[in-house]
Structure formats: structure tokens, C-alpha cells
Symmetry: C2
Subunit: 422 residues, 2 copies
């Protein structure tokens, strides 16, 4: 009965991208981790359920972070004055090398997982590092935390720093080991994670593609984040018609559910591939600003019906907060409209909310909505500390204030699949 | 002796725009509100001074907010899905109309001033509304708070909503009354505040210009925030060669110290006027994103030696935090470089810090730096709640983390001109 209860509170969700649905002082009924529905009073058939009283607080679906590097959490919010390549070489790669040491990984991943638990994220697709042992540490902490996550042991067998490069056979073997050693786990599942085209040989990519299909595992990687990266891929893959096509030719494109992060500079044919092949796009607005990547055209993908969710991309992004990612997505879309293409309307709060909950959630199952039969991922917000207003606010306005003014430390309770984490 | 003391802590400042100066575990000596200097140990001549022990905490100069609307604070962080004109008509003007009621003003300004006290701002240039009584309420709360502020009774005698329009003579008379009734105050001084060209007749503008010069009062207004606004000014002032020139012809341009907020779309001749006439530019990055105004070219003004500081522009901007304004200034400058003009380098943390402290501070006097003889505006930061790192961080990296991850609620102590507010 632990995962069977009723939450009373101000319930809000974004069932469609155009629409935020508000249920002031209502009841969310959950049976064995699955949603029964939202009710204005408790139906008699549920009257014996335990009541979780969150009256006066916003109750919203959990958010899904489609792209985050756990191994970069130690330096989030820092060193943002550097350009991408310097930032990678001076900070990102040296930091990731430290995860060769299991002890370091234990201490660093402990901090990451504890903070992720306190964040509005209930589902995440996570990059670890190339190191098998450390990646298992991260996976085990997540498994115990109750957050549902895909965790990727990263593959890198070329064009990497000396301390962060694998032998191709070992890379594949370690990936297989990671898959085997997490088999049957409840919360964590493995995801095939070639860092990106430049850091993986064709041979490794093709072997990873076979592994993904054989084991029915999803895939995550990076696509068209930065112009010089795209030029590099062109040089490396002269046979490919686009960066996306390079993944496709190597078999790592939509054969199983696939997340591609960024897609800032995807054009024409690549856009078509993203749409046609049902690729999940992880839009990471803060990271794309911090690393001077640009502003992706979220409006176009969203209107085309693409599967575009949001990612924090820590540590390119500063914060683990998906609430902040929602605000950032809206803000940068306005800057794109004013600086690049005024014909494209900015994103709305409803759209960003829908992306962070429903679209992102669909990578993980029936997640992100309080509809009958959906998994009960629930976030209860703490609005304290945002100055009082003299007049009552709508639920949407209250959510918008949290998004814009209290994206850190705003979660007071969280449940994943009906299990309360705190 | 209240304003004479020594602060021990990790002292950081940005004396030049290229350089953040770090003094780990050092002593800031203050005599009667003025800085004596930063020392690595306490000089014997100051050994009898009271010690304020902030060991382990960042001690930085107070920040100067060059542009903020106190009367919009009630709805900050909300209604950001609307375009500028809808946003003004549906929310901003109806909200400002409420300040006709002194009781409402008392309740709303109390919240604003209390939050401003808790913010990293020690000096601010503030818009109230057209209402004399309410503006006096705001001024008196600020006077008592200890924050040093310029407060403007707003002038609007044309093109305004019915509830927010003044008779020209009354507008002038109320402005004069506001000036007289705040004469001799310690912390608050009046500032001449025509809302912007479209909302003031030429006659009123010219009378305000005379008033500014006669009383030696500074001026604040808005300039080139939005393209349709600029077109409107062109229609209203066919004789002027630019929006800036329209202010200049009406005498409200640099005759006394002048702040112009935004300057997002200033070009050629207008840029020259801003530089030549020593106008203070209030760069408001968050507001310019939220209202789809665009990204102003801060790099160009900064490199040209212009007086460009930062403003929060609440409620176009979401937050009162000038720490957040620093982070936003860096971030949008990167988006400008990636989306508009890659030849212009993004702002650095040092530059944003210098703008928020030294350049902005210079509007208020010798403010924003811990140099001998400068006024001791001091902010002590609380870094708690930002997850621990496994390795020690430089002072700059710690400041950057606060800017990017804890811009709200980050101030643990604050002094203005040597007087501790908390």
C-alpha cells in the first residue's frame, strides 16, 4: 500500500503544449504507483486511501531531464568565461579523468545523486564517463535513490586526451559488462552512449549499434551543438550527407529509442531525419548559451510534432533544475525571435512545461501527466521565499514565479512511480 | 564609531574590467564609512577597531542597480508570455494605477524595500509611479532602510491610459513637491523621471529639463528598448535625428548626470551621443530577453569606454538580484556573439562584475571598490546550499558559482557607506 495514496493540493499539468490545466485544491489519486485521476472531491471507492496533505502547495508531474553529465557536476556554474574547446580541455576532460579512481567517483557521484534527488527531476538520461567501475557506482547510487534513470558508460576510442581514451575492444567489453551487471535492476537501465562521432571509431560505433539492437537498449549522444564540431564531423565522415546521417550510417539512429542532445545547427535534411526517425531531441538552452553554441529553433521542431524535450546538460548548463531549464527555454526562444528570426513565435510557459514533463517523459514511458494509468511521478513545490503578493495568483502564475525566481531548492516532496523520495 | 570597523573575510573586487582581484582571508578596514584599504594583517594603527568576523565568506563591494521599477515588483517573474505592448496594457499600467491608493502603495512598497534590503544592491536608481503621495511613501521607506537611492516620481502627460495620465502643470508641480519634500534627506535623493519620449509632451520635457539644471538633479529614462517604440518616437519627433537626439533637443540629455535604460537598438549617431555626452547606460539583460527586445551590444560600449552599468529592470526583469544580472549579462553576450556578430567577444565575469560595481557605482559617487577614500558599500555572501566541491575553489570561481547558482537569497550581511543593514 506504500504506493497507494491521495495527494491533496493545487494540481497543475500541461496535457497539451498549448494548455496548462489547473485544478485548485483537488485530489490526485494513485493506486500502486499508477494515477487514477484528478478529482475535486475524494470518490468513495478511494475513501480508505492514505491522504498526503499538500494543501496550498503546487502539485505537478515530475520532470524528465533528457541530457545531463553526472561526471561534470563538480564544476557546474564555473569557468564559463572559456570557449568550448578550452573548456573541454582544461576542465571537462581532466575532471572526467578523475573518475578512473573509484574513491573519487564515490564521493563525487554521492553529491550529484543527493542533489538530483532534491531537484524536480524524476527521470533522467545520464552520461557517466568511460570508466566501468565508476559508472557502476553512479548506477548503484541512482538505483538506491529511487530516481528512474538511464545511465550510459561513455565510449571514446579516438580523438580524446591520453587519460580519457579507450582501447576499442575494451570499450565494447566494458559496455557489455555494464549492461550485464545492471540487468534486472528496478530504477536504472543502461543506455548506449558514444560520446559523439569524433570520439568513436566506425568499428566501435557499429559494434555499439549491434549491441543496442540485440539488447533492445536506447542510445544517447550529441548532435550539431557547435559549428566547428560539425565541420570536424564532415571531415571525419566524408561519405555522410549530414552529422545525423553519420550516426544513421553507423546504425545509431532510431533503431532503438534515441536521444540527440542540442541540434542547435541542424538544417534541412538533418531536421527531416530527426522528425522522420522519431529521434528525441534534448534542447539544452542554458548550456547552449554558456558555451556560445547558439539558440536552437525549438519552435520549429515543436510545431513539426518532433519529440523535443529539455535537458540541463550540466555542466555546460549550470543547474540541475529542470524548472530553470523551462524558464531558459522560453527566454532564449524570445532572443532567437528578436535576434535571428522574428517570424518564429517564442515558446510559452505551457510549451516549455509540456516539453519538460510530457514529451521528455515519453522517453521513459507513460510519464509526465496525471492521466489514468500513467506512472505517478509527482513534485510538490515550496514557494516560500518568493515575496508575497497582495493579490491572489492563478496556479500558472505561481508556477511561472517558481520557474523564474526559485528554480533552486523549490521541491518540498517528490514521488517517482508512486514512491515518495522525501 | 558605528561606521568604523574591520571586516575579515575572502575579499574580492573588480578594479578594472579585465581583472578580478582576490584577497583570501584578508582585512577590509573602514573608518567612519570610508574605506582605508585591504590588508593581509591588521595594521597596528587600526588594532583598536571592532572586528566583523566573516572568515570563510566572500566579501565584495555592494552593487548598483541602475534601473528598477519599484511599482512593478508585485508582478515580477509573471506574465512573461506576453509581448511588450500587451504586457504594458494588461499588467504594467493597471498595476501602476493602483498606486493612486496610498494604502496599496504602503503595502506594496514595504515588500519591495524589504526585499531590496536583502538583495546585493546597495545603491539603486528607481522608478516609482506618477503619484506624489505614493512616491513619498517609497522614498521614506528607502530613507529608513539605509539603502542609498535615487527615486523618481514618474512623469506621463500624454499617450497613457486614462488612469495613468497627468495634467502637464500638475505633473510638474508634483515633481517640484517631491523634490522639496525630500530635501536634506540622508539616503534618498530625487531624480527627474520622464517615463519616455512618447509619454511626455515637449512642454513638460522642457520644464523638467529646467528643473533638473536649476536643482542640479540627475535624470533617468528609457532609450531604444524596442523597435516599434523607436518608430513611434520617429513619428512623434520628426525634427530629431535619433531617439537620443529627441531627449537632447528637449534638454534631458547629459546636462546633469543621466541614465538611459536599455539602448538595445542604438546605432551610429546615437552611440556617439551616448559616449560623447557621458550618459550612463543601464544594460538590463534579463528584461531585454523577457520582453523580446533583443541583446544590446555591451561589448562595443564597454570597449569604447562608455559608462555602461547593469540594471535589473524589475518587472521586465524577473529578479532584484544584481548577481543574477551579472550572470545574465555574460550569458546574453555569448548568445549575441553566436547569433548576431561572432566578431564581438562575449563579456567575462570580471567585466560584468566591474559594470555592476564600479561603473554603476560611479553614478552614486566613489562607490563599488575597496580603495582608500571610497564609500564602504559591502556585501557578504552566503554560499551555503550550493553543493560542496571536492577540491578548493578560487575566490573568482566561488563568486561565479553564486552568480550562476544562488543569485537569490545569497546575501548574509550588507553595509551601505559603512552602516550595516543586517
Amino acid at each position: 500500500m506504500e504506493r497507494t495514496f491521495i495527494v491533496r493540493g493545487d494540481i497543475i499539468q500541461a496535457p497539451e503544449k498549448e494548455r496548462i490545466e489547473e485544478h485548485g485544491d483537488s485530489y490526485l489519486v494513485v493506486t500502486d504507483g499508477l494515477v487514477e485521476g484528478i478529482f475535486s472531491s475524494i470518490p468513495s471507492r478511494f475513501s480508505h486511501y492514505r491522504l498526503v496533505d499538500c494543501r496550498g502547495h503546487i502539485v505537478m508531474p515530475g520532470l524528465s531531464d533528457l541530457h545531463v553529465h553526472a561526471s561534470q557536476y563538480q564544476f557546474r556554474g564555473m569557468w564559463m568565461d572559456e570557449e568550448l574547446i578550452d573548456w573541454l580541455n582544461r576542465h571537462t576532460f581532466p575532471e572526467e579523468e578523475k573518475y578512473r579512481d573509484r574513491d573519487y567517483a564515490e564521493r563525487a557521484y554521492r553529491i550529484f545523486v543527493d542533489d538530483l534527488v532534491r531537484s524536480p527531476t524524476t527521470r533522467a538520461s545520464i552520461f557517466a564517463t568511460i570508466h566501468l567501475d565508476s559508472t557502476l557506482v553512479l548506477a548503484s547510487y541512482l538505483e538506491d535513490s529511487g530516481i528512474k534513470a538511464y545511465v550510459g558508460k561513455v565510449n571514446m576510442d579516438r580523438n580524446s586526451t591520453a587519460g580519457l581514451s579507450e582501447d576499442s575492444a575494451q570499450s565494447l567489453e566494458d559496455t557489455q559488462s555494464f549492461i550485464e551487471r545492471t540487468e534486472g535492476w528496478t530504477n536504472v537501465r543502461p543506455i548506449i552512449t558514444p560520446r559523439f562521432i569524433p570520439s568513436c571509431t566506425d568499428g566501435l560505433m557499429k559494434a555499439l549499434a549491434r549491441l543496442a539492437v540485440d539488447r533492445g537498449l536506447p542510445v544517447q549522444s550529441h548532435l550539431s551543438e557547435n559549428r566547428s564540431e560539425i565541420e570536424w564531423v564532415k571531415e571525419l565522415c566524408p561519405d555522410s550527407t549530414s552529422y545525423a546521417d553519420a550516426y544513421r550510417r553507423r546504425g545509431l539512429w532510431g533503431a532503438t529509442p534515441t536521444i540527440m542532445a542540442h541540434c542547435v545547427h541542424s538544417t534541412g535534411r538533418e531536421e527531416d531525419l530527426l522528425a522522420m526517425d522519431g529521434i528525441f531531441i534534448a534542447h539544452c538552452p542554458d548550456s547552449n548559451a554558456n558555451l556560445s553554441s547558439g539558440i536552437m529553433d525549438a519552435r520549429r521542431y515543436l510545431d513539426a510534432g518532433c519529440r523535443i524535450g529539455l535537458g540541463t546538460d550540466v555542466a555546460g548548463g549550470c543547474s540541475l533544475s529542470m524548472l530553470r531549464a523551462m524558464g531558459d527555454a522560453v527566454r532564449v526562444s524570445k532572443l532567437r525571435a528578436s535576434c535571428v528570426d522574428p517570424s518564429l513565435k517564442a515558446l510559452t510557459l505551457a510549451e516549455a512545461f509540456h516539453m519538460a514533463s510530457v514529451i521528455g517523459g515519453s522517453f521513459f514511458g507513460k510519464v509526465g501527466l496525471f492521466e489514468p494509468g500513467w506512472e505517478a511521478d509527482i513534485v510538490v513545490l515550496d514557494e516560500s521565499g518568493i515575496a508575497t503578493t497582495l493579490e491572489d495568483l492563478s496556479l500558472s502564475a505561481r508556477l511561472e514565479r517558481v520557474v523564474n525566481l526559485k528554480s533552486e531548492g523549490a521541491v518540498m516532496h517528490k514521488a517517482v512511480c508512486g514512491r515518495w523520495l522525501f
